[in-house]
Amino acid sequence: MIDNPQLRQGGAGALARARPPGRALQIAVHSHKRKTTRIASIALLTAALCPAIDLRALPEFSRPNPLGGVVEIDRPGSKFADAIQLTAARGAYASFHLVAKLDRPSNYEVSLHFPLPTDIYREWFHFNTPDKKYYPDALIPIRSPYRSKLPEPDNRISQQTAQAFWIDIWIPAATAPSVYRGEARLTSGSEHKSISIEINVTPAVVPEKDAVTLDNNSYGTSWLLDQYPKTLKGLQTIAAGDQKLFKLIHQYHKIFYDHRGTFHQLGYGHAGKVGPEFAPELTGTGAQKHIADWSRFDRHYGPLLDGSAFQGSKRGPRPIPYVYLPINPEWPATFLWWGEPGYEAEFVNVVSEMERHFREKNWTSTRFEMFFNHKKRYKGFPWDGDEVRFSRDNSYLIDYRRMLDKAVPANSPVQFVMRADSSWTMEQQFEILKGVINFWVVGEGSFSWYPGAAQQLKARGDTVWTYGGTPLVQNISTAITLNPLRSWITGVDGFVRWQTVAPGADPWYQLEGGGEVLVYSGERFGRPEPQASIRLKLQRNCLQDLALLEEAAAQKGQRAQIQQEVVKRYNGTSLAAWRNTRPALLTKPVLEWNNADFDDALKPFEARFSNLESGAWQRVRDYALSLEAK
């Protein structure tokens, strides 16, 4: 992790400034001064024909632009550095941007030499249509040395003079605490530039358990067919094609797991259509309905539920902690029998078989979620499962809980949970559905109107997550840390970004803000698997620090003091500012509210977090590391 105060700093946008032409020449002459006069002459001549080059670094929250500067929103407080000195805990990544600058179009080579495992990524500069500016986000893995030219041909930015690289240095938990040194080099023609990299590895180890579960949500699999047309070509017609689909799905789980997150994929539509990979095949009807074939389901979920899909991960193989079940009003029981004995018979038969199958497979580490996502506006069913607004719809949830309890033995080691995503009526639902719902996923903003609710729900054994969106690329880089931090301060168990795999029609040249994407398809780069974004990496590094802070808060018994210091360093606030109060809106009946009312009521609270700076998280990190040092 970049230890900002220790960076040898250059001015913000230093790379963007035109360099004196003589300096490049000096560097070239200097690098050859011990050689013969003849060679020096050749070097002088060559240098005159070569572009001026520079290689510098930026802290991870200062995103570079393709012209050698820093993107405008991250610029205040950002400094380029001529050397990198980081302090980092073990069992974690340390990251920074490396920026290669050429004053003229030319070929170049970048290499990195470091004694710890290092991943290097080329940063893709997206043209962002909402503000017509370039932002780096998608990360394309490369190997050192990396040879290319500027402007990068495929990025198609004619004025590009700088290429940025995201550097991820992995510090295994068993690494000896010490100072590790290496360097990065840039070569173009006869010119060379190198900068030193120094990492002070502390004795602290980032806990494996996260302070907050950061979940990434998605819907179905048709988006995979859209984003991987070559890889999944023939899926519809070749029987064995689903193995490629499963491999890809597992890679999505793995990339989020590697970034300290979880991944959800909802397997049914609003009228109850279940994708073939999300449910076992059924046969029969009424009392005879049962599961006919598990094979496809097991090929999809087996490696996720036993953890083998994560072989090779630096975090080690581990079963996924949560998964949606395909249960909906049309599966496993047909809605045709709703309200009749046949509905319950079909439901209980099949869900009982599921429990038995999961138990026999020893899939007991994962929480299997019975969750109803449908909304009546999509005309499939007469009640809202998701975000209940009309109170009478809760009666359906109570019916399903009764059937679930009938299907699953009370002493089952398999963890079936009943999940509800709630916004409009959450306060009412917390009461009506006590003992029915034990996994709440609630709108982050409106949940703030009920201070203490997280603690009350958790005290009765419920799991509580909040949900929200994903910061846009044009937001300040630090924005990606706000939801995880707010979740930790509020005391909820997790936070869901409701959509993180939808890049839009043309993310490479016409990004639409990126508010629904944190990983990109690598198919266009010959890598048919998901590729991380800068925002995902920043979020991962934030979660590492939160895990350290949570460990300190739990061990030292000084949670309030630690959190007080964190929010002070983060945005100059006190803990009191992170607690909201009930707005006047709550005195009106829910059916008289609308979304504009929601926004208005939340504005004063959200305004408290509008002053983020690109250096905000580094200050929190410094504190986390200092706590561990103590």
């Binding site: 539509g269 709703w338 999509y378 005309k379 007469p382 009309f390």
Partner: protein, 187 residues
């Protein structure tokens, strides 16, 4: 080569026969639906409150219409079960959707009940209501069933739904796809 060509030529009429058979099947379902679907019950599905808010446009709230969409459970369920039974008249995936006109000028229509295969030739996914479709207007006016094959691979037969006054109050769309997409609309 010759053998392959013969096989190919043989396959084409077979494909056509299948599509033709499907169209006949759908027409038969539509004919029965016109008798079995109760228009009075259908008229009670959407709540009066939802009908008041369905055209609501609020520049500050893009969900002002759909957040207030609501149905009467009993009427919805009764009608949906009838539609589901109708779709079981054949042994391949068929949906029977209910559509009803809305009082608006120019006329608009909305899908009121969808079913398990999530197929429709006319519904742009997520739309609460939409412009009147000429073929649907024709059914509502004439009471005649019609087959529509506008969207490639889809076959729909539209049939009127009448109430006890013999007014045509809606229509059913009996729909299938020649090559079903198992993953479409799983979202």
């Amino acid at each position: 080569m010759k053998r392959v060509s013969v096989l190919f030529l043989a396959a084409c009429p077979l494909f056509a026969v299948d599509a033709n058979r499907m169209e006949r099947d759908l027409d038969e379902i539509a004919r029965v639906a016109a008798i079995m679907v109760d228009g009075d019950v259908c008229q009670r599905i959407v709540t009066a409150r939802a009908l008041q808010t369905i055209f609501r446009v609020d520049p500050r709230d893009q969900w002002a219409d759909s957040d207030n969409y609501d149905v009467n459970d009993e009427a919805f369920i009764r009608t949906k079960k009838t539609l589901m039974r109708l779709s079981r008249m054949v042994d391949y995936p068929v949906d029977v959707n209910l559509w009803m006109p809305l009082a608006a000028n120019p006329p608009r229509i909305h899908i009121v009940i969808r079913n398990r295969y999530e197929m429709s030739q006319f519904w742009p996914w997520g739309k609460l209501h939409q412009e009147m479709i000429p073929e649907m207007q024709s059914v509502l006016s004439s009471g005649q069933r019609i087959a529509v094959k506008q969207k490639p691979g889809f076959i729909s037969v539209l049939a009127p739904v009448r109430n006890s006054l013999n007014d045509i109050v809606g229509l059913v769309e009996v729909v299938t796809r020649i090559a079903p997409d198992a993953r479409e609309n799983v979202k």
